[in-house]
């Protein structure tokens, strides 16, 4: 089963390597990983999407905890939470399909963030499935390139990771 795990870590040299090395060394899988500093610049927050049985996920969270630089680990899967991902997509913008691109972007509440004579670069945020759907709709129009961010997630309500 897919799990979304947030990990609060020390914002130090080598911490990302410790976390990713833990996953590869123990044969755990990472579907996506997003990292950035938090409000407190001495810590970073990682959002890891992984898959595994309950026993594997239990090992993953415990092993993460065991790393000295890890401060907190939260598995969002069993609680109410919001997840967002951002995607940029560069598409062919021929005079014939520009209107369709604009319409799609509007439907998905995206934005056009860059325009050239032959291309539009679109930005869309949302859940993974929304982005999948958006890209699916764009495909026939000719996608040149995409960049997806990996998910970030947060528990609903007052509870916070710190």
């Amino acid at each position: 089963m897919k799990h979304t795990i947030s990990v609060l870590v020390e914002n130090k040299f080598g911490v990302l390597a410790r976390v990713s090395g833990l996953f590869s060394g123990r044969g755990f899988n990472i579907e996506s990983l997003a990292v950035a500093p938090t409000l407190d610049p001495s810590t970073s927050r990682m959002t890891i999407i992984t898959r595994g049985s309950d026993a594997i996920i239990e090992q993953i969270t415990k092993q993460l905890h065991k790393l000295i630089d890890v401060i907190k680990v939260v598995d969002h899967t069993k609680e109410e939470h919001v997840e967002r991902e951002i995607a940029l997509a560069k598409v062919n913008a021929e005079p014939s399909n520009r209107a369709e691109i604009l319409r799609m972007t509007e439907i998905f509440r995206g934005k056009i963030v860059d325009v050239s004579s032959k291309t539009y670069t679109l930005e869309v945020t949302g859940t993974g499935s929304k982005i999948d759907a958006f890209l699916e709709m764009l495909k026939p129009l000719g996608i040149l390139e995409i960049a997806r961010s990996g998910k970030v997630a947060m528990t609903r309500g007052r509870k916070s990771l710190g």
Partner: protein, 562 residues
Amino acid sequence: MEFTGAQIFVKSLLELKAKTIFGYPGGVVLPLYDELFKNPELRHILVRHEQGAVHMADGYARATGDVGVALVTSGPGATNAVTGIATAYMDSVPIVVFTGQVPTALIGNDAFQEADIIGITRPCVKHSYLVRNVKDLARTIAEAFYIASTGKPGPVVVDLPKDVITTSCEYHFPTKVSIRSYSPTRVGHPRQIAKLADILCEAKNPVLYVGGGAIASGASEELAKLATITKTPVTETLMGLGSFPSDHELNLGMLGMHGTYRANMAITDADLIVALGARFDDRVTGKLDEFAPNATIAQIDIDPTAISKNVKCHLPVVGNLKENLSKLNDIIAKRTIDWDKKGAPWLATIAKWKAENALKYSQKKESIKPQFVLEIINEITGGDAIYTTEVGQNQMWAAQYLKLNEPRTFLTSGGLGTMGFGFPAAIGAQAAFPDKVVIGIAGDGSIQMNMQEMTTAVQSRLPVIIVILNNGFLGMVRQWQELFYDGRYAYSCMEAQPDFVKLAEAHGALGFRVTKPAEVKPTIEKAIKARRPTLIDCVVDREENVYPMVPAGAPINKMLLA
């Protein structure tokens, strides 16, 4: 007042009460060595290979419970240390390994003798530091010792670029270490401990399954109390040997692949297994699906990842074993149960297993059986010795036959199974206890992996005794080939061997060869009296096997017995 990084290094180590460093100098660590030269109160033992240095620090730590310290140079010095670090990691041994590093400005430039040792060792350290500023040095060293020795112990690597140890700054040694992301749980949940007492009171066929955690946490006394009060039999893992006296009537001996018949039968028939600082390693469980099918599993462990990793645990207690056992004993003491009566039927069943199949071998007149050598050692030392082993048959026979009275007297590479560990570990233990008898049990294959350290023992006047059980084979490999590869001894035969006696002598040590059973005892006695590094080459029966044996992948009650 300002001090150089090298001076801070030595001051910090003295502050931490380190007494001995095992090391090997080289280019970028010269400033550290210059300071060690000026501070002889910090004893430096010069090794002959960096792997030896780390195993010695490891042996020192296992024998004392204190943090072992090794110092090596950058590049190849550091990479040579990796096997030692991985060995300590797998067995949770507290050591701190200082590695030299090229100056910070050169890191990443493929400089001479540069290796990314932090990267290389990342999967086999508890933690590691690359010190980039001399101002962080004292705090880093204090943290390294703290992390190595607390919680589940383990190795910490501290990488020291040359400019960091030559730059000066004010020196303040931290009075207290606190790391916000690291606070190991010490005491388990009281309700869990009470529940554990309840199920122990109800169990008909309970077994205490004891691992290295009992030794790491110093829980022998509490363990003995629990076992003797509740009349619960004890079986130990390879790492747990020594935590409970070998000759105690409740001791079933080691369990697992080469465990005793009664230990493996008892575990299989148990209705309650209380794992104490043990992690259900594959060498212990055999085939997982058939491991202890009827048992409730309770576990006390400092490491949450050890809980339910391989075997589903029904009652976990996370925390320090000694403290939690002590709490458990307090609860047990209040229960009014006739433990003798409750335990009698189960102990009678175990006694029957013991009578059916005890460890055995037959010593004839001509050739020496390896087990016989170990029994002679028992007779001579009465258990008043520190033993180390290499890996393979020598290790398993030592585990089965040596009589241990105390923890920290049986030092062996259990997790990683490192050949070449035992001899340097013996030197490390001897450095900690110069007056004790330290005996390294070796095979003729293993000893050749770190034989060069004999000169270290000679130079440092450490009177270790090495007993080679020499069968001219990589014995355990040969045993597997005999049993599972139709006797095709593919490259397991050491046809050419050095003359070990001459080799010992060439190193400046004593060497003896023993070929007849009658010579074993007087030779070992002579070696103990000599108080010099001594090697005894015991020529033993070539094709003796270690039994019982559970074939890989079989359930542990299906043992080959001969």
